[in-house]
C-alpha cells in the first residue's frame, strides 16, 4: 500500500513536469522544422551553456519563491560580483582562490543582510531586494568607475569553469575525436546539474527543505510547530544571493567583457520567469528543482529559437512574454477544468448515494 501510494504521488508530481517537458519539446520541434540549423551541435551547446548560467540564478530564486518571497536584486548582484571578480583578478592581482572565496563570502553577506532586514525589521522582501537592485548596480558602476572589466587572454584555468567543455577537455591540443568535440557538454551546464542534484536533496530529503516548504505554505503553523521560520527565510535569501554571485562570476568569465552598468540587467526577471514556467508558485510552498531547470531551459530555448527562426529581434521579448503567459494560463485553465470535472463527478456520486439511502429507507 505504501509503495503504491508513493507511486501515485510520484505520478501526480510528474504530471506537471510532463506538461513543462511537452511545452519544451513543442518549441524545439517547431523551431527545428522552421530551421534545422537549430539542432546543430554548435547551437545546442550554446543553449546548454546559457541554460547552465541562467539556471543557477533560477535555482537560487526558486528557494526564495518557495518561501513566498521574491528576490529582485539577482541581476545587480550578478553585475556587482562579476565586475569585482574581474577587477580583483586582473587589476588587484589577488590569487584566484582568494577571489573565489571573497566573492562567495561577499554575495552570501548580501543575502544575509536581505534576510535580516526581512525577518528582523519586518520589511517586505519586494522592497528590500528592490533597493538592493539599485544599490548594487550603482555600487558596481562607482567601484569600477564605469570602466569595462575583462580577463584578456589570461586566467584560462578559472575561465574553464565558464567556457570549458567536458569530456573534450581531457584530450589536450584538440586531439579529441570529432564526435566528442562536437557533443561535449559546456561546464556551466555540468555545474548546474551538480548544484541542482545537491539542491534537490536539500529540498526533498533534509529538515531544512521540509521547513522551507512548510514556512512557504503556512508560516504561522510553522512557527507554532517550533520552527525557526526567521532562520529558514534568511538561509533562503543567502542561497539566492550566493548563487547569483556564483552566476555573476561565471557570466563575467564567459563574456570576458563586463560592463558594470549593464551586465546582469533584468536577469532577476529571467530567473523568476524560469521559476514560474517551471511550476514554482509565487504563493509559496510549491516547486520542484527539475521544474525550475526545465523552466529555465524553456526561456533560453525560446530566446534562441526566436533568433534561429528569423523573427525580428525587436520582437523577441514580445514572443517570450506571450509564450510564458500562454503556458502558465494553459496550466491554470487545465487545473480549473480538472477541478470542475472532479466536482461534477462527485455530484453524480453523491446523488447516487442519496438515492441509495432513500431506497434503503423505503
Amino acid at each position: 500500500m505504501n509503495k503504491n501510494n508513493r507511486m501515485i504521488e510520484y505520478i501526480r508530481s510528474m504530471k506537471r513536469i510532463g506538461g513543462i517537458t511537452f511545452l519544451l519539446s513543442l518549441i524545439i520541434l517547431v523551431t527545428a522544422i522552421i530551421n534545422p540549423q537549430f539542432l546543430s551541435s554548435y547551437n545546442i551547446r550554446n543553449i546548454l551553456r546559457w541554460t547552465g548560467l541562467f539556471g543557477l540564478l533560477s535555482l537560487g530564486a526558486a528557494f526564495v519563491v518557495i518561501t513566498g518571497g521574491i528576490d529582485l536584486s539577482i541581476g545587480s548582484v550578478v553585475g556587482l560580483i562579476g565586475s569585482i571578480a574581474a577587477y580583483l583578478m586582473v587589476h588587484a592581482q589577488w590569487p584566484v582562490w582568494v577571489v573565489l572565496i571573497f566573492i562567495i563570502v561577499l554575495s552570501a553577506t548580501i543575502g544575509l543582510i536581505h534576510g535580516l532586514l526581512i525577518t528582523k525589521i519586518h520589511m517586505q522582501a519586494f522592497v528590500v531586494t528592490l533597493c538592493g537592485l539599485f544599490v548594487y548596480r550603482g555600487l558596481a558602476r562607482y567601484l569600477m568607475d564605469d570602466r569595462t572589466q575583462g580577463y584578456g587572454t589570461g586566467f584560462q584555468s578559472v575561465r574553464f569553469l565558464a567556457s570549458g567543455r567536458l569530456p573534450s577537455a581531457f584530450w589536450t591540443d584538440g586531439q579529441a575525436p570529432k564526435f566528442i568535440l562536437n557533443w561535449s557538454i559546456p561546464m556551466p551546464f555540468i555545474l548546474l546539474l551538480a548544484i541542482a542534484v545537491l539542491m534537490a536533496i536539500v529540498l526533498n530529503k533534509t529538515i531544512y527543505g521540509q521547513h522551507l516548504k512548510a514556512t512557504g505554505r503556512n508560516e504561522c503553523a510553522s512557527r507554532f510547530s517550533g520552527i525557526h521560520t526567521d532562520n529558514v527565510l534568511i538561509i533562503a535569501y543567502v542561497i539566492s544571493s550566493t548563487l547569483a554571485g556564483l552566476g555573476g562570476l561565471l557570466f563575467s568569465l564567459d563574456l570576458n567583457t563586463v560592463q558594470p552598468s549593464s551586465m546582469g540587467n533584468m536577469y532577476e526577471l529571467y530567473a523568476i520567469a524560469g521559476c514560474v514556467v517551471g511550476g514554482v508558485s509565487l504563493r509559496g510552498g510549491d516547486g520542484s528543482i527539475l521544474g525550475v531547470i526545465l523552466g529555465t531551459a524553456i526561456v533560453r530555448v525560446l530566446y534562441n529559437a526566436i533568433n534561429v527562426a528569423g523573427v525580428s529581434t525587436q520582437l523577441e521579448q514580445v514572443v517570450l512574454g506571450l509564450v510564458i503567459l500562454i503556458g502558465v494560463a494553459a496550466d491554470e485553465v487545465v487545473r480549473m477544468i480538472a477541478a470542475q470535472r472532479k466536482v461534477r463527478e462527485s455530484m453524480i456520486l453523491a446523488q447516487k448515494a442519496l438515492e441509495k439511502s432513500k431506497q434503503a429507507e423505503t
Binding site: 500500500m1 505504501n2 501510494n5 508513493r6 504521488e9 530529503k205 533534509t206 529538515i207 531544512y208 521540509q210 521547513h211 516548504k213 512548510a214 512557504g216 505554505r217 503556512n218 504561522c220 503553523a221 510553522s222 512557527r223 507554532f224 510547530s225 517550533g226 520552527i227 510552498g285 510549491d286 477541478a339 470542475q340 466536482v343 462527485s346 455530484m347 456520486l349 453523491a350 446523488q351 448515494a353 442519496l354 439511502s357
Partner: protein
C-alpha cells in the same frame, strides 16, 4: 520532550497531584480585557472542560498555556515548578500541547510531515537529513491512536477536513504531552469521529495525561469532562465537579442570566416569498443543488458543522462565487447575479464571516467604512465624495445601532469586536436591504453585544426584511430562528421548527453523511 528532572510516579505524592496550576492570570488586548485574574488547576489524568461564551477568554487562556501569548500578570506552575512559557517551543518542552481550533497545518506536506513538523526524525549519522521511513512508521503509530488508518505519506490537501482535524490531534499526541488542550475539537467531526475522540481522551487520561477541553457543545462537555470551569467576560465565574455538571447550571454561569431573555420574538412572518432558490448549484464544495426559500419578515438560520457549505451557499447567492446552475428568484422574479454589485442592486447585502478580513477595512475610519458601499450612489457628486453626507450617514447609523465610540473618524480597528461587528452591520443597513444575509454574525463578540445584534435582527424582521443567517452556535440557532435549515456536506439534510426541536435534533441532521 523529557526535560523535567523527575521521572516520578504519577500523582502519588501530594505536591504533584496537580500537573498544572494557573494563578491569577490576566491578559489585555487593545480595547479588551481578555482575562482578568483567572486561577484554576489541573489534576494528573483528569479532563477539565473550559466553557464560556465566545469572547469569554477561553481561547486566550489556551494560547497563553501554549506559549502563543505572554500573560500580563500571574503565574503558571507545571509539576510544582513556576515556569514562564513564553514560546511555543518552551510549551512543547514543558509537555503542553494545543490542538488548534483553526486548522494549523501545511497542506502541501504529507500527513507524517505535518505530525512531526519541527521535530522530524533524523538519521543517526546524518543529522540534517530526514529519516522518512521512521517518520512514516512513527506517524502510523500515532494515527492509529486516533483511529485514523491512512497512509502517512498522503499529501494533506487530499484529506477531508475531519481527517485533517485528527491529524492535528495526532500532532499534539506525538510530543508525549502531559497536558493536551483541545480547542473546539469537534466542530468539524461527525458523531462517530467524536466518539473516537472521546475514546482517545479517555485513553490519555488512563495513561496519566491530563486534558483541557473547550467546547460550546454542553452535551459533549457532560460526557467527557471530570470537572468544568466556566469563564465569563474574562473572569472565572464558577466551577462544577463531575456530579454537578448540568446544562442549565453551566448556562447560568456562562451567561449570568437566563438565556431566554437574549431572544425575544415579536416579528411576524409574512406570506410573501422574498428569496427563492431553485436547484442552485454552489461551485467548488457543494455536491447538491439547493432549494430554499425565505419569506419577508422571516429569519431562517442555516445550521451545520464547519465545512457544511453554508458560507459557500451565502457566497453564491450574493455573487461572490458564480453559481454553476439553477435559478435565484427575488419576489418571484428571476435575477442574474454574477457579482456582488448585482446582488446589492437587487436589494441584498451580505455580512461576511470574518469581519477583519472581509467585513471591514480595519485601518480606515468608522465613517468611511460605513459609507463604503453607498459611495457611488448617493454620497458622491460627479465622482467627488460629499464629506458632509458621509458624516451625516455615519452619525445616523452610529446612533441607530448604538455603536460605542469616541468619534466617527476613529479607526475601525480600535473598536471592540462587538462594536466592529455593528459597524459592519451599519455599513450594510445603510443600503436599506430587503434581504439580509449574515454569516456567523456573533462570532467572537461578548454577550451584551450579541443580545443587541439579536434585537437588531428582530427589529429588521419586524420591518419585513427577509433574513438568512448561517450560525454554528446552537443556542443562537434555536433562539432567533423562525425556521432552521440544516446542511451537511453541501446538502440540505432537513428543516426543523425551533419551537419543537432540540440541539440533538440539529446535530443529528448536521452529521447525516452519505458516504
Amino acid at each position: 520532550m523529557k526535560n523535567e528532572e523527575k521521572p516520578s510516579s504519577i500523582g502519588h505524592d501530594l505536591p504533584e497531584e496537580y500537573v498544572l496550576e494557573v494563578k491569577n492570570i490576566s491578559k489585555s488586548f487593545p480595547g479588551v480585557r481578555a482575562l482578568n485574574d483567572v486561577s484554576f488547576n489541573l489534576k494528573v489524568g483528569e479532563t477539565l472542560a473550559l466553557v464560556g461564551e465566545n469572547g469569554a477568554g477561553k481561547s486566550t487562556m489556551m494560547k497563553i498555556l501554549a506559549g502563543v501569548y505572554v500573560p500580563d500578570a500571574g503565574e503558571i506552575i507545571i509539576e510544582g515548578n513556576a515556569v514562564s512559557i513564553g514560546s511555543v517551543e518552551r510549551a512543547t518542552q514543558f509537555g503542553v500541547a494545543l490542538v488548534h481550533q483553526e486548522l494549523n497545518l501545511c497542506d502541501n506536506l504529507s500527513i507524517a510531515g505535518n505530525v512531526f513538523l519541527g521535530r522530524e526524525p533524523r538519521y543517526r549519522h546524518l543529522k540534517k537529513v530526514i529519516d522518512f521511513d521512521k517518520m512514516n512508521n512513527d506517524a502510523t503509530e500515532v494515527l492509529n491512536r486516533v483511529g485514523l488508518h491512512l497512509n502517512p505519506s498522503i499529501i494533506l490537501k487530499e484529506l477531508p477536513i475531519s481527517s485533517q482535524q485528527l491529524v492535528e490531534i495526532s500532532k499534539a499526541l506525538s510530543i508525549n504531552a502531559k497536558v493536551v488542550m483541545f480547542d473546539e475539537p469537534t466542530s468539524s467531526l461527525s458523531e462517530h469521529e467524536t466518539e473516537q475522540l472521546f475514546k482517545v481522551i479517555r485513553d490519555l487520561n488512563q495513561n496519566g495525561i491530563s486534558c483541557i477541553y473547550i467546547s460550546h457543545r454542553l452535551g459533549e462537555v457532560k460526557e467527557v469532562a471530570d470537572r468544568v470551569i466556566v469563564l465569563r467576560d474574562g473572569k472565572l465565574s464558577g466551577s462544577l465537579n463531575k456530579n454537578e455538571i448540568d446544562r442549565d447550571k453551566m448556562i447560568r454561569l456562562m451567561v449570568g442570566r437566563d438565556i431566554e431573555k437574549m431572544y425575544e420574538k415579536r416579528h411576524l412572518v409574512t406570506d410573501k416569498v422574498r428569496l427563492q432558490l431553485e436547484d442552485l448549484i454552489v461551485p467548488k464544495q457543494a455536491r447538491f443543488p439547493v432549494n430554499l426559500s425565505v419569506r419577508g419578515g422571516e429569519i431562517v438560520v442555516l445550521s451545520g458543522l464547519i465545512g457544511a457549505g453554508r458560507s459557500e451557499l451565502l457566497h453564491t447567492i450574493f455573487g461572490v462565487d458564480k453559481s454553476w446552475g439553477g435559478r435565484i428568484l427575488l419576489d418571484g422574479k428571476e435575477v442574474t447575479i454574477k457579482k456582488p454589485v448585482d446582488a446589492i442592486h437587487a436589494g441584498m447585502v451580505l455580512v461576511p464571516e470574518d469581519r477583519k478580513l472581509n467585513g471591514l477595512v480595519v485601518n480606515m475610519e468608522v465613517d468611511n467604512n460605513i459609507a463604503l458601499p453607498g459611495l457611488c450612489d448617493n454620497l458622491s457628486k460627479k465622482g467627488f465624495i460629499e464629506k458632509r453626507k458621509v458624516a451625516e450617514l455615519a452619525e445616523r447609523m452610529v446612533q441607530k445601532l448604538d455603536i460605542r465610540l469616541f468619534k466617527t473618524t476613529q479607526f475601525a480597528e480600535s473598536l471592540s469586536g462587538g462594536n466592529q461587528q455593528k459597524v459592519v452591520l451599519a455599513k450594510w443597513l445603510a443600503m436599506n436591504p430587503t434581504l439580509l444575509l449574515l454569516d456567523e454574525p456573533t462570532r467572537g463578540i461578548d454577550v451584551g453585544a450579541k443580545a443587541e445584534i439579536y434585537k437588531l435582527l428582530e427589529d429588521l424582521a419586524q420591518l419585513g426584511v427577509a433574513i438568512l443567517v448561517a450560525s454554528s452556535e446552537l443556542q443562537e440557532v434555536l433562539g432567533i430562528a423562525d425556521r432552521i435549515v440544516v446542511m451537511c456536506e453541501g446538502r440540505i439534510t432537513g428543516e426543523l421548527d425551533p419551537a419543537s426541536c432540540s440541539e440533538e435534533d440539529i446535530m443529528k441532521l448536521a452529521t447525516e453523511r452519505l458516504v
